[in-house]
Symmetry: C2
Subunit: 326 residues, 2 copies
């Protein structure tokens, strides 16, 4: 066994906690500590030492890769370039339209510093993106479909909670079964995101609230619910607490195409995740291993999952992989 | 548009014909010709010029990559090292236990010659292998399952045809639905290949043959059928010719694992292919593009799909991929 790869976690929300768990399952990785903007004494980890983010440089010798666990809206656009100027990093930046801008900022920092930065790991962007790519490269004549769900939607849950008479709520996005079946059949239908998904709401009413009025306000809410087939279920506060605390997610990428007239093929990639953040963390950790290896080879600059050979993600050697799972 | 990548096809059976079709769907690739051990005048292509294999060197200037379309049993073990000593190549070598040996022979030739050789592309080995790798790298605590089918099995079809009283037959291997459901549930059952698959036979009887005797001989045939749940259907010669001339195949790779106690995730990759050889050809062609790029970058030696970054398979630039499908 070679020296373990030293990992620092930046940010300790759901993702950071997931990364701590995932590192515990990887004997070739060693967790140096959690680095937080909060007072380290207030950060309750599952065992990792907690440090102030400002003390990062004091641990530079132990850290091979920083895993950035902040949000894509305000944390990563600042932290990824800033930290890539001092460390090899991975992030799960997931604001699709801003990827080119984020890549450019991180690439400039990493190239100047001679570090490696793998951005937008996770599952979408990430594993789903890779499957979209393989699908269209192998079957250039065809259509790609991405379905999300069954998964908790934070934004839509918030919209429900703002309705008068609602004291608690969650919203799940579901892939529409009828749309999936049409895609699987090889028909290559034209579908909008709206036609591909349905919405399921679980709502706790305030004492005395009018259920039908609330239901009507939900299903007619423009953009959020009106365009979708939306189901509203009223439940008790106890049921909400008992059955809806998880953060499940998942979905499908389906490529349907033909290699010659009338000869159809379907490639389907499906994730069913008990915990969106824990799975995303597991992906981040595998890409941290790849980042450490690229940095050790002298590679530099920003990368995405498209640039990372699959073998770099595995703790096994190339020989072992060829013999065991090729 | 840059200069197209020049491709030579070596061998013109089902795979070679599929490669010719796949290249026609890729404007960045240009087919130089089909190179065959047969008399070129006897090789009826869909339009590509046919040449004698012995004349390969006369076309060396036009050829960036050779796609080897021979069989894994006797063609590729000889041709891949021999041709890698003169050209950048891709093959679909699929004898799993002999991969290390094949890799070593091809690597020695390619490294000495300064060429690139990507071996064992296709779907298993190939895309299925990549999914086994991603699955275990991301969810190190879990189990991986590979199911094949519904697909035509050549060896089992041949075994049926050797039975007295049988004048024609095909055999399809099917994944056992009950086993798939257990795996999808996250139960992580221990399953043998036999428990994972069932067998379906379509048999044309000779005039006067005893159907029950034939059925009994099939379902009790050791190794081939006895250990499996086997269904035998008797059909007419017309039905065999009409309904069973295709070479469908496919299957699943499922990784089921947990990121922390009780938090389960399932990753499922599924192929449903109208034509096994045409799809394999489509994969070979995408890897030929990657091989040409690696060779242009000065890379050398043998590679497998584990060593190839996904982005190298796509005709799109890295910028385009990040903006469009990440």
């Amino acid at each position: 066994m070679t020296t373990p790869i030293g990992i620092g976690i930046v940010g300790y929300g759901n993702l950071g906690r997931g990364v701590e768990k995932a590192i515990a399952l990887s004997p070739d990785l060693q967790l140096v500590g959690v680095f937080s903007r909060r007072d380290p004494l207030a950060v309750k980890t599952a065992g990792a030492p907690a440090y102030a983010l400002a003390d990062l440089d004091a641990h530079a010798d132990e850290i091979d890769v920083l895993i950035l666990c902040g949000g894509s809206r305000s944390d990563l656009p600042v932290q990824s370039p800033e930290l890539a100027a001092r460390f090899t990093i991975v992030d799960s930046f997931d604001t699709h339209p801003k990827v080119p801008e984020h890549f450019a900022a991180v690439d400039a920092a990493a190239t100047a510093a001679g570090t490696v930065a793998i951005i937008s790991t996770g599952w979408d962007p990430g594993l789903f993106s890779i499957n979209r790519l393989y699908g269209e490269a192998i079957l250039p004549q065809g259509s790609t479909y991405t379905f999300w769900g069954r998964g908790l939607s934070q934004g839509h849950s918030d919209a429900l909670r703002r309705i008068e008479g609602v004291v608690g709520a969650v919203q799940y996005t579901l892939p529409a079964e009828s749309a999936i079946e049409r895609v699987r059949s090889g028909e290559q239908p034209e579908l909008t995101t709206r036609e591909q998904h349905t919405r399921e709401c679980f709502v706790v009413l305030a004492e005395g609230a009018d259920a039908e009025a609330v239901r009507n306000e939900i299903v007619t809410m423009p953009d959020y619910f009106e365009p979708y087939d939306t189901t509203v279920n009223f439940i008790s506060a106890e049921e909400l607490a008992r059955d809806h605390q998880g953060m499940p997610h998942g979905g499908f990428v389906i490529r349907s195409g033909e290699s010659s007239p009338g000869v159809n093929h379907t490639i389907e990639y499906k994730l069913a995740l008990d915990s969106n953040p824990e799975f995303t963390s597991s992906v981040l950790v595998a890409y941290a291993r790849a980042a450490a290896r690229l940095a050790a080879q002298g590679d530099t600059g920003a990368k995405t999952p498209f640039d990372i050979a699959p073998g770099l993600l595995s703790p096994k050697s190339a020989e072992q992989l060829r013999a065991e799972i090729l």
